[in-house]
């Protein structure tokens, strides 16, 4: 593989990376090739020592995705970061995607639970107000209890959302650093 095809393969895989960063990355590798050629190496040799551009690009994409998720908190960004991490290796598929899905499912369940507590309470209140209930007082009491519980749950969930998001990113960062290693060989 010569310099040109190495760089174009890499560029192809870096589509999800912001343009500025993409240019920086490609110029780093261009510089590497130029320096190697000055030492009398051929483009083929240099490319061989660098390794597979696709795999390197995947790692770069992942780092970039993580950073985007870190700077701008959103569901799309974190999912992109998770997917980029997972695509790195089979090992990550197990160790990142599994926990991510479980965590997300628990998270959604908790929100649904808090919403249904609250709505259940409200329904009871209406029931009492409309006079459909034999014992409005008990109904009112249950309303307060249920919606109170729902609200507390909801506030709790809102409270842990941010730390949870950050913890997810930290976990993936740690994962890049230590766990995966197939490309370093």
């Amino acid at each position: 593989m010569n310099q040109k095809s190495f760089l174009s393969k890499m560029k192809h895989e870096l589509k999800g990376v912001p343009q500025k960063e993409q240019n920086e990355i490609l110029s780093d590798y261009t510089e590497h090739f130029e320096a190697g050629k000055l030492e009398g190496r051929t483009e083929d040799e240099i490319a061989k020592e660098l390794g597979d551009p696709k795999i390197i690009a995947k790692e770069l994409l992942m780092t970039s995705r993580l950073e985007q998720a870190e700077q701008q908190h959103s569901f799309t960004n974190i999912m992109r970061a998770v997917l980029a991490t997972v695509s790195l290796s089979f090992f990550n598929l197990v160790i990142v995607l599994g926990p991510a899905i479980a965590l997300f499912a628990i998270y959604i369940t908790m929100w649904c639970l808090s919403a249904s507590f609250f709505l259940g309470g409200v329904a009871l209140l209406f029931n009492a107000l409309l006079g459909n209930s034999a014992s409005p007082l008990i109904n009112m009491f249950t309303f307060s209890a249920l919606s109170g519980l729902g609200l507390i749950f909801g506030v709790g969930m809102a409270y842990i959302s941010k730390p949870l998001y950050k913890a997810t990113i930290r976990y993936m960062k740690w994962n890049v650093k230590i766990a995966k290693g197939e490309q370093v060989a």
């Binding site: 320096a35 020592e49 390794g51 390197i56 790692e59 890049v176 650093k177 290693g181 370093v184 060989a185």
Partner: protein
């Protein structure tokens, strides 16, 4: 000697810090100095350098070279030096423990 890649990945960061402390180096130079000791795919050095720069362990600057175009040099920051010292002491403790373990096990 073939070494477990997982193993190498963890210490690569430490090696980079130590090399850059010695003197500021450009990417290709750093790659050569690393591969003189440890076999790695040189391409994976750059993602690491980017991360370390973003974490502010390294600083970069561009300087002219006597031959060819200007090059990007990597320099150790104060934060990077502190981090390097932490990693070195962790490494020493770790390798000491592993050595003890091997010694005890092989001597019965």
């Amino acid at each position: 000697m073939p070494v477990n890649p997982q193993f190498k990945k963890g210490v690569l960061e430490l090696c980079v810090l130590v090399l850059v402390k010695q003197k500021d180096q450009y990417g290709y130079e750093l790659a050569q100095n690393l591969t003189n000791q440890i076999a790695i795919a040189e391409g994976s050095l750059y993602p690491l350098l980017r991360r370390m720069t973003k974490d502010q362990y390294l600083r970069t600057y561009t300087a002219k070279s006597s031959e060819g175009p200007p090059r990007k040099y990597y320099q150790l920051s104060d934060l990077g030096e502190k981090y390097m010292e932490e990693l070195i002491s962790e490494w020493n403790v770790f390798q000491g423990s592993v050595n003890n373990l091997i010694k005890e096990a092989t001597e019965g």
